[in-house]
């Protein structure tokens, strides 16, 4: 839960004849996290399996077809027949689809020329140069073809190209008109209308074969286009499932075929190195032994915590949404404590403490549930996992009840933490918990009963940072030994009572909170001694530069004051909204009611958006900056066994 599963380093050495069965078995087992082989003088990088080229080519074809048919990429069950079956079907489909797509593009371009009335420009791309022959009796076909296959032999052919379309003028003797017509049909010929030709090609000799009107040509073009699109649509419907299945199968085959590129190889042998969870080593050995008998040499050794092995972490379900926060930072090293479980506890608490409003909490909860359904658990804008937001919303409701807040309005609930107090400073008024109401009716900007909130905030900081420090001590002990842990981490822990003492002296903690702090603090003399030893350890462990860092600890603690500050900002905005609306409603006319409603809606909407964003960012920041710096290094790699990629 907190530490990753123990891993073992595994090395498999075998003859190349066993390469394929071993790759197949490893892929099926989904256990080995392969360590890429680094080329060395004794051992080169392996070569891919022989079918690699074929599989790669097929995969490209499948993807070309899919993109031509405009199929969306989706997960599908892999095709489970022979690869040869995939090949024959893909090949025929490929030529069919490519042809249809090319034809569609051609028809589209020709239609474009006609509909933009650019036939003249297109025909001008040809130059007519006649020889001495007698062309006056010839019939001339003038128009566009997709390609030209042997029409040149039938008579005199002039060619031009306009925006990727072949323009032609084919002049044939009368007896060859029928042959020319069928040849042109095969080349997908579309004539240019009889009005345009003489104007575009004044030098044309002979008479125009089969003159046609523009609207008829356009009509037949549109029909042809519709037909070819129909062919593609049918193909898309008919083959979508197969293509998805083939794609998923080929991706797997491709991955297997290129796996040996990550192995080491000599002329006759191959070597795979990697990591396997220690509990699974026996299973790996058994299965490989079953495939390859005695011919494989398999060695394994437990990895020690200071090594950089991949991390396989079994998190409790409830903490899993919070893993995203760690991924955004950097995954933990193999040897260190995974703080996800701690984050799952503290993140929602911090968030809830800052937002702390029953009304907002309920709205956020509803939003979070909706987002969870809409995104299927994927983080919102790559940042906020909705499941984490649900926990945060629950905490918001809880703290809202504690503070007695409902959309910024005091709901007169029991205020266990913030008893009403009289405060004289900014004038006369009562002060209930968070705000001063300056005189009965009108809220001027309030002062704040910040003492309690501030005290709680920094005390939370002390506890949170202490947790971080002790975790750091444990990490250091586990990875580098007790001496290292004492030298580098213990000094800072010894400073903490001093910090608490300082806060009481600075009257950040007052009244009951100061008494609370004093009750856990040792006598002053002990605090001084602990400070002295702490500083000494820091100097020994980190050198004189460590001492420069000392004030940073205090600013880290002050930083938790944001728990109070962010919450206050949102309460005040809500309160201003309510007050403005109350005045507007109080006016008693219709304009006032409308204005009041708009103000309420707009202000609370803005406040709600800020109320999600701000506590979220600040809560996260407290973890990343104040908390993680006490123990977390990160930069480990996640366990991603071969075969489990899809």
């Amino acid at each position: 839960m907190i530490l990753p599963e123990p891993m073992s380093r595994v090395t498999i050495l075998g003859p190349k004849t066993l390469l394929r069965p071993v790759v197949d078995e490893l892929h099926g087992l989904k256990l080995l996290h392969i360590k890429d082989h680094a080329k060395s003088s004794d051992m080169d990088i392996g070569e891919p399996l022989p079918e690699y080229d074929e599989v790669a080519q097929l995969l490209v074809r499948v993807r070309t077809i899919s993109s031509n048919l405009e199929l969306k990429e989706e997960k599908a069950k892999a095709f489970d027949g022979e690869i040869a079956a995939v090949r024959s079907r893909v090949d025929s489909l490929y030529s069919e689809v490519s042809e249809a797509v090319a034809r569609r593009a051609y028809l589209q371009k020709v239609l474009d020329i006609f509909s933009h009335n650019r036939q003249r420009a297109a025909l001008k791309s040809m130059t007519l140069e006649y020889d001495d022959g007698d062309y006056e009796k010839h019939h001339v076909f003038v128009g566009f073809v997709q390609r030209e296959h042997g029409i040149g032999e039938l008579g005199r052919l002039f060619k031009g190209e306009f925006e990727g379309v072949h323009a032609i003028a084919l002049s044939v003797p009368p007896e060859k008109v029928a042959a020319a017509k069928s040849a042109l049909d095969a080349d997908d010929f579309f004539p240019v209308d009889s009005d345009t030709v003489p104007r575009a090609l004044p030098g044309l000799r002979g008479k125009l074969a089969e003159p046609k009107r523009l609207d008829l040509i356009e009509k037949s073009l549109k029909e042809a286009l519709k037909k070819v699109s129909g062919v593609l649509d049918t193909a898309a419907k008919e083959h979508a499932t197969f293509l998805a299945a083939a794609n998923s199968r080929l991706v797997t085959e491709n991955r297997k075929a290129e796996a040996p590129l990550r192995f080491g190889a000599t002329e006759k042998t191959f070597l795979v190195a990697g990591w396997v969870p220690s509990a699974e080593v026996a299973r790996l050995q058994g299965r490989l032994g079953h495939v390859a008998g005695e011919k494989l040499l398999i060695e394994h050794e437990r990895v020690s915590p200071h090594e950089n092995a991949p991390v396989k972490q079994n998190l409790p379900r409830i903490a899993r949404p919070f893993k995203h926060f760690l991924d955004m930072f950097a995954g933990p090293l193999y040897g260190e404590v995974n703080p996800t479980v701690f984050i799952a506890l503290t993140f929602p608490l911090f968030f809830g403490f800052m937002l702390g409003d029953v009304g907002y909490g309920l709205v956020v909860l509803a939003l979070a549930v909706l987002i969870l359904k809409a995104t299927k658990g994927k983080p919102l804008i790559g940042l906020l996992p909705p499941a984490a937001l649900i926990f945060a919303a629950l905490c918001t409701i809880f703290f809202g009840a504690v503070f007695g807040e409902f959309f910024g309005a005091e709901i007169g609930l029991y205020h266990p933490l913030f008893p009403r107090v009289e405060l004289e400073f900014l004038g006369h008024g009562t002060h209930d918990g968070l705000l001063i109401v300056a005189d009965g009716k009108n809220v001027v900007m309030g002062g704040v009963n910040s003492d309690a909130l501030l005290a709680i905030s920094v005390l939370v900081g002390v506890v949170h940072i202490l947790i971080g420090m002790f975790t750091g001590f444990y990490n250091s002990w586990r990875m580098h030994g007790l001496k290292q842990a004492v030298m580098h981490k213990a000094g800072w822990i010894l400073l903490m009572p001093g910090m608490l003492w300082l806060m009481v002296k600075m009257s950040l903690l007052k009244g009951g909170y100061a008494a609370l702090a004093n009750s856990v603090l040792p006598p002053d003399l002990v605090i001084y001694i602990m400070l002295g030893i702490g500083v000494l350890l820091i100097v020994i462990g980190e050198g004189i530069t460590g001492v420069v860092e000392l004030p940073a600890l205090l600013s880290n603690l002050f930083s938790y004051a944001r728990l109070m500050a962010v919450g206050l900002a949102s309460v005040l905005l809500a309160l201003v909204a309510n007050q403005m609306a109350a005045q507007a409603f109080g006016s008693g006319n219709i304009v006032g009611y409308i204005f009041g409603a708009v103000v309420l809606l707009l202000f609370h909407l803005i406040n709600l958006l800020l109320g999600i964003l701000s506590p979220f960012l600040h809560s996260l920041r407290l973890h990343y900056v104040e908390y993680f710096t006490k123990f977390y290094s990160g930069g480990g790699k996640q366990y991603a066994p071969f075969g489990a990629e899809d």
């Binding site: 955004m328 405060l423 910040s450 009257s507 002050f558 004051a561 944001r562 920041r621």
Partner: protein, 79 residues
């Protein structure tokens, strides 16, 4: 509505205001550059949005220190 009190109290209030206001200017200056850089990074790669947002709020601590100081100063007046 008149607020009554001594000049000393008023000066303390002004001091508290300065503590928050000036530190907010400081935060703003810091965030301005980080924000500009973050937008640049996001233009290159939209996945940077989350990280950019987090980096941008880092200097916000300054205002919070300012607020802590303001509250401590106000404590002088109230207490």
């Amino acid at each position: 509505m008149a607020i009554e009190g001594s000049i000393a109290t008023g000066l303390i209030a002004v001091g508290a205001g300065l503590a928050v206001g000036l530190s907010a200017i400081g935060s703003g200056l810091g965030e301005q550059q980080i924000g500009a850089a973050a937008v640049g990074a996001i233009a290159e790669n939209e996945e940077m949005f989350g990280k950019g947002l987090i980096f941008t709020v880092i200097p916000e601590s300054l205002v919070i220190f300012g607020l802590v100081v303001a509250i401590l100063i106000l404590g002088l007046a109230g207490g």
